[in-house]
Amino acid sequence: MEILSVENLTKRYEKFTLKDVSFSLEKGYIMGFIGRNGAGKTTTLKSMMRLVHPEGGKVTVFGMDFAEHELECKQKIGFMLGGVDFYPKKKLRTIVEVTHRFYSEWDDAEYQRLMQRFELDPEKKVDELSAGMRVKFSLALALSHHAQLLILDEPTSGLDPVSRDELLLLFQDLIEDGEHSILFSTHIISDLEKCADFITYIKDGEILTRADKDSFIDSYRLVSGTTNLLKDDLKKKIIGLREHKFGFEGMIQKSDVAKATGLEIAPADLENIMIHIERE
């Protein structure tokens, strides 16, 4: 069942345009939204949530038009930019005391359970929490009102590798029940390799690819060879070509492998794919 659908989302700024962004997410999956800094990830997520005003496009959440049913949709969505960074001098207890009032399905028992599971002390102030704990507090808030769709912007940025891993395992735990879905943006590619089912790739405000992670990775190959092997027709096919004094290296589509005779061919990983695409 489709839990989120974004169609032709467009937002124009003076120096940047989000062009016809479209993608969708099924129930029970994790989608990684990737792109380099400034590619339009946050603008897309903010446009989806109508924090900024898109010029065009439609966002459907749980079968409802978000623009028409914003309040109902928000009841079922947990949205966060990084971790909690509002009201840093307030205790978690105070923030929860206020926040829970706005959600019809707030589950206090679930909230207590999550606070214990994440080892969060409600008497602590927000700015006493580490970056990882802030993300966990955001998740605790979202899951306590039974948000089924989590939209997370760079949740792992600024976290140490252990905290990142912990969080990614948590994401996987969450979707296991088949009821939750997660869309999270990141530029930390290793996060996606660990837990994303689907990849949506954005570059300069345009969606480059929407695919399941494995076939996306499998659709590219890394190639390298000496300069004399770099023919013109091959050159056109190479993505992110870099020539150096010993030869060249780059990436090609799997379908172009036949043209790469004599070259060293190796499987690509997400990080290499991103680096080569962005080098173009």
Binding site: H53, K74, V98
Partner: protein, 216 residues
Amino acid sequence: MKNLLYKEFKLAVHPTTYIFLALCAMMLIPSYPGYAEFMYVCLSIFFVFLAGRENKDVFYTVLLPVRKRDVVKARCLMIAIIELVQIGLSVPFAILSNRISPDHGNMAGIDLNVAFFGFVFGFLSVFNIVFFPIFYRTAQKVGLALAFGGTAILLYYALVEMLVWIPSPISTFLDTNSTDMMVKHLPILLAGILIWIFTWILTYRRSATNFEKVDI
């Protein structure tokens, strides 16, 4: 709306707002401009918005399942309550001040009479209608809103004090704490209250319209 108002008082209100309520005792300062206390009120309103910006209040609030217009309405209601409480607390101190020195009045401006409180409602109305819509054009530039709001109330202050300082039939009945003038003072109070209510409606509408257009 009840929940948003709860949020305003639980999270958004700045401690100076409560501390400045104690400035109602400024009414007791002999021969002191009565409007000074209400300038502090405007300052405490500015602090609420400034702290809100630093605490990312707007971002927190608009992500809740609430309408953007209601976010503005709750803030307007919260500030309106504070203004009313401040005026309400000032009234007994003004009465006490007049009792302490019934013959001398206020040498530094209008006497603390019923008409004065009518002008205070006007004073706050001017600040509200300038400050709020300017802030909600960006939901960020709180300093700009204060610059314009502050200038507007200073001009208003100069204007209403001129009515007292320039000798005229108006100044005669305005600048007295005699209860005999109550008949002339009461309509000014009533007009002030009506203007305050009317400008709050206008302030809310303009601010909400501006806020709905803001990209956060």
